[in-house]
Amino acid sequence: MSLRRLGATFRVELAHTFRRPLFVILALVLLLSGWGLSTGHVQISSGDSSVGGTKAWITSEFAQTQMMTYIVLLYYAFFIAISAGLTLIRDRETKVDALLYSTPLTAGEYVWGRYLAITAGFVVLMAWQVLVNAFFNHVVPNAGANEIRGPFALGSYAIPVLTIGIPFLLFYAALSMYVGQRAQNGVLVFILPVAMLLVCGFFLWTWSPSWLDWRVNRLLQLLDPSGYRWLNEALLKVDRGVAYYNRAHVPYDMLFFVNRAVLLVIGLASVLLTQRSVARAKRGAVEARARNLRAVTAPETLSPWLEGAQDVASLRMSGGQPGFLRTVRAVAGAEMRELVRQKGLYIFIPLILLQALGNALVAVGAFDTPILLTPGITAVAIANQVSGWVCLLLLFYTVESLERERAADLAPILYATPIRTGALLTGKAVANAVVGGAVLVASLLACFLAVLVQHTVPFSIVPFLLVWGLLLVPTFLVWTTFVTAVYAAVGSRYAAYGIALAALIFTLFRAVLGQINWVFNWPLWGALRWSDLGFFETDRAALVWNRIGVLGLSVLFTVLAVRLFARRGHDAVQTMHRLAPGRLMGSALKLAPFAAVPAIACSVLLVQVHDGIGGGVAKKARKDYWAKNLKTWMNAPLPDIGRADIALKLDPARHWISSRGSLTLVNGADSVLARFPITGGDHWEHVTWTLNGKPYTPETTERLYVIQPPSPLAPGDSVAVGWSFDGRLPRGATRNGENTEEFILPSGVVLTGFTPSFMPVLGFMESVGETKENRTEPRRYPRDYWKGVTRAGFGATAWFPARISVTGPEAYTLNSVGVCTRNSVKDGWRTQVWETDHPVKILNVVCGRWQVKQGHGTTIYYSAAHPYNVAEMSQTLDAARRWYSEWFLPYPWKELKLSEFPALAGYAQGFGTNITFSENIGFLTRNETKTDATFLVTAHEAAHQWWGNILTPADGPNGDFLSEGAAHFSTMLLFEKVKGPAARMEFAKGIESRYNDRRRVDDERAMYDVDGKREADNTVLYDRGGWVFWMLYDHLGHDRALAGYRNFIQTWSVSRDHPALQDFVAAMRPYAQDPVAYDAFAQEWMEDKVVPEYRVTDATKRKVGDGFEVTATVRNIGTGVMPVEIAATAGERWVKRKGTGTSAPASTPNPGYHDARETITLAAGESRKVTLRCGFQPERVVVDPDVRVLQLRRKLAVATL
């Protein structure tokens, strides 16, 4: 190899690399994203989420490493593919290759020179990226990001470049070059980054179920070229604390280095293979040509015309301009023939099929329960991916198709034919639409399979036609025309790729950061919400205008593309003349009619979004409410509700509500109450008030109404406050199709007393108007805040009776709390009157067109479209009512209803007598043998009748444990009772796994201090809470515990005081056999935040007499002191379950299972040698075989013998 020739090749290519538009565009993209990311949009999920708490630095080595793993795949992969993949193809197209082959330049010099130059170019870009990031992170001031910026350390930036960036570049540039050389086809080159993103983004980075074998997991880490899976699984998934991430170096291990070595080996092999391929081409070019020529050797005889038999005129040809459609057909036909030949589609289609299928099958809902897929849900669930993939492929296919004539030197002939430019471009677009169509068909097939394997929901193509056909096709049109217009304007394949990729990345960036709205969301990313009960009802107008705008843009881009497409080479002087202001203005005026439609659509959307519920007007109103009232009305004393009388008229077709009613308010405090605030809704119109039946005009500050009774209310005095209003709910469009928690829509109505949607809310609502900018640290309570009388965490402080009359269209059932005392129909309007047979603390209304399933004291109201889980839900509800009544307190109300509402909000809530479920919770939950998901969600929500309604927890830290944690605990009890211990254990392991994955070391506080305001609080409230209640129950014993629970709930349900966790702990203490041990338990698990983590080492077995003796060392590497069982086991414990639902027994013991146990207690860091004698041949040593102790990484607390 001649270094001189290698150097010459290197220099020429490197110089070319720096001049490429692609290079400049990527440099700009890196600059902009460096600026965008400096505000902390990509952070490691660690740290203390409180205001001023220790945050994960974006400048740490960990953060930069994580960012590099994303960026190499999202940015570099595409740009490298174009540069390296096309470098040799470009030589062939420009016929330079033949010239180079005739020089002494060897294949090795040629390939290595190119490869090293391209890689060096990207290394320069990576250095630029580091420079830009460091500049924005450390030099440009940004007070808002100070807490996420650590001190500058060169290693934090340089090390990820060396460990993640450069190995990836070396690998990927080589692979792209090889694919380009082998395929001699640009499109296949572009399939590479798309396929890699697909495999990594949707599989390697995300797929890590709790049951995955660690060896498989490590293999997958080895395969990920970005390194993210390794980083995440080894170091990020289980939080190590923010101090570690901010200060420590990334501890690369052997697996990582092997992964890098694999990349380098593949890279080297790719270059060598490319070299061999080029060498063969060089050697074989002459031979191949000779072969071809031999194959097409002219016949010996001369053609007849030469002998004067015929002339050209005799052919009687006539020509003229071909028709538009004829041209389109001809162009499309030729393009299709090319498409069919290309391997890209055949590789990509199975990949997208697998990805769509996998993604559909792993969709989860509440409590991570799997979702039962319906066609509509599936169509929307993968719409984002489908549109993303199709847009990427359309980019590559469109540009390559437009470039085809130039690359083949056919352009001068083709462009001199009389075809219309529009027809030429349309023909190409039609052919490329086949690519989009193929992706859609593959995705459709995946969805069909996903729906089919459930054996539950029938397949229908209608939602796919609606979502993908009607809604996404305009996206594909606008993208294709945009790409065509860009290509026509810049006339360069590389510049077109650069600009289009930059546009796509920019859109993606804004979508990921939540900064996109209906105006600019041309791909509809994140904007579609599906309900089987009604299609796109919330934002239908915005959606239609968005599509009109997108179609209008397509027309504009088409016109631009046709005008700018250079069939004729432009003259520089004439072009300068055309750019003169006057002529430019003239051109703009000519385009104005085409720009009118998108401009009008955008303007309408701007107004809709601005005036909508997420727009500037609403935001300002909420902020003003917060700012003007916070200081005065926060924690203001409030009266109790003595009685509620409400009359609602709902018109779902118009999204309209009319509300009229009165609240009898009683001063339940010990002091005089002169005035009190009431919060109204922003959708309220024509608001009137009465006070004790007389018209009244309260003082109003931004929807906060101050009621001042004629005379101050003495303790026990009451006043009747009446209101009436009407309005539309939701009041306008959302920003980008977000969920709305409450709504009045043709598909259903859901209204709650938590917000002033159908009745006023007593007091100032602290959460309204709080944004990221004005967020304050939640109030810090002293640990003894619970002493004395504490207000309710939600709802009213005291029980009150209510009467609610709901009027709506005849076809609807109109449910509210209590029992229905009247159900009449007049003039097509149904009126149902609901009266409480036992007082309640909060009200709600839910309406729909339902079927009814009657149980024992329970009723399920469900959509005819979703009958699948109704029987299971009904049985669970019956069981819940029966057993919770027996365990905690007899159910005080006559009827327990559960009603379904559209999945435009994704929650379930349990109001007294009137539970509401979003359709994708319970009704569309997929039951699997391990999860019993329908049972889980129904049992949890039913438990809120007791934990939340009958007993309302305190307004303060840890109160929610007595709602959510207790509901999870109740679910565990019900699992054990109804489904048996195996089902309870599976559920317990499931929520333990959630806690493992979602807890954040720095953010987690002791249970006594958890107030639900921090990011990690949720899993502590639900999962840890449920577990701790279970362990407490286990500690006390069944009878004692339930006696304690009964007493606790009975005592506190009728109290004006509301219990905190401390009240619960105090209430249960008398039921403990060993109060000291009880106190120690409460101290560890509630006052402190311990979690044990066990490891089993040195596990051996030996034959002793007829049996075996097993010895093992068990160590608690976590925290806390808990008695825990250690077992030597053999065989599977439970008979494998067949089928799902209540009919399938979940916990049938396997007669072949044996175990021998011993209980030990290990403090943090303590280890003990355990000896177990077995009358059977043991197979493994298991810590906590009955799943009774919450712990970290349970899977590792086992040893195989």
């Binding site: 040509r289 071809n292 020529l293 194959a295 097409v296 002219a298 016949p299 001369l302 053609s303 007849p304 015309w305 030469l306 015929q310 002339d311 050209v312 005129a313 052919l315 009687r316 040809m317 006539s318 020509g319 003229g320 301009q321 071909p322 028709g323 004829r326 041209t327 001809a330 162009v331 036909g333 030729a334 023939r337 090319e338 030949r341 085809r404 083949a408 030197d409 056919l410 001068p412 002939i413 083709l414 462009y415 001199a416 034919t417 009389p418 075809i419 219309r420 069939r567 004729r568 080479g569 432009h570 003259d571 520089a572 002087v573 004439q574």
Partner: protein, 324 residues
């Protein structure tokens, strides 16, 4: 009639490729001769509506083809100097595709028409093979087939015989002659023989300017009796070049066989008069920038001369094809 007026094309640089071309071309075969880089292809592209000139006008039968190239294309058959095809299509499919795009119809139907056209260019035997397997000559013939298809009013062929073997070249001559009977055929070439054989009229272009528009006969007669051939020692050639208009010098058996233009009728010793060829006329034109008037040379009419070649600047220049 195809007319150009004041056609100027300046490429960024700036490089003036065409510098005010005025030309009228009547139906029939018309040749465009010139050395490489003279501006022929630029001129052809502009005529074909594929390149926008910096200034000037082009009309075909009175209609402005610069402002509305789309009005030209249905009447155009164009064979560019460099071209290719979709490599994976067969010759037959490729031609059918192009005929489709040209809106060409024939009573016998498209399939038969394609077969007959391929027969005209002697490609029947390779009709079903992928174009990527074609030789340069086969590709050229396929290009010719598409260019002559239909009933174009104007046919522009740019260096059409490049890559053709002598037999194919003859066939092509035959075809073009036939086509030129009732339409305008412009043949751009630097092969003088092509023009000599085919074109009753031709123009010579150099450095973006028209040097002459004439007929082969007139061009030859302008220098008739003034061409001499003889042998000179290698060492004497520079001196001869400085003193005479040497149009060709070829090294044969250690000596230079030179051909020179000597209008005075007194050639150097050892040089004898030879019959005049069109190539002689072309090379004299390249050397002198113009041909002598017939009155002066042979008492005939004055030749049409255009442009401003600078004889002194050319005399010392080897020029394209001037020396072999």
């Amino acid at each position: 009639m195809l007319s150009t007026r004041g056609l100027v094309k300046v490429y960024p640089g700036p490089v003036t490729a065409l510098n005010g071309i005025d030309l009228d071309v009547a139906p029939g075969m018309f040749g465009l001769l010139g050395p490489n880089g003279a501006g022929k292809s630029t001129f052809m592209k502009i005529l074909a509506g594929l390149l926008e000139p910096t200034s000037g006008a082009v009309t075909l039968d009175g209609s402005d083809t610069l402002s509305h190239p789309e009005s030209l294309w249905p009447r155009l058959g164009y064979l560019p100097q460099e071209f290719g095809f979709y490599p994976h299509l067969s010759g037959q499919a490729m031609l059918a595709h192009l005929l489709e795009l040209k809106g060409i119809t024939a009573p016998q139907g498209m399939k038969k028409l394609v077969a007959e056209l391929l027969e005209r260019v002697n490609l029947t035997y390779a009709a079903k093979r992928a174009v990527k397997g074609y030789s340069g000559g086969m590709r050229q013939r396929l290009g010719i087939a598409q260019a002559i298809a239909g009933n174009p009013r104007l046919i522009i062929v740019d260096e059409p015989t490049a890559g053709l073997d002598p037999e194919e070249r003859l066939r092509f001559y035959h075809l073009l002659s036939e086509l030129a009977q009732d339409r305008i055929v412009i043949l751009s070439t630097h092969i003088v023989e092509d023009v000599a054989v085919l074109c009753p009229r031709f123009a010579v272009i150099r450095a973006g300017r028209l040097l002459a528009v004439t007929t082969p006969g007139e061009a030859r007669s302008a220098i008739a009796g003034s061409m001499y051939e003889g042998t000179v020692e290698v060492a004497d050639l520079p001196r001869l070049r400085s003193e005479r208009v040497v149009t060709q010098a070829l090294l044969v058996e250690g000596k230079n066989r030179a051909r020179l233009y000597e209008p005075s009728g007194s050639p150097p010793e050892g040089f004898a008069p030879v019959p005049v060829t069109l190539e002689d006329a072309y090379l004299v034109l390249m050397r002198l920038g113009s041909l002598p008037s017939r009155e002066r040379a042979a008492g005939g009419t004055t030749l049409l001369q255009r442009g401003g070649g600078v004889p002194g600047a050319i005399a010392g220049s080897p020029g394209a094809g001037a020396e072999r």
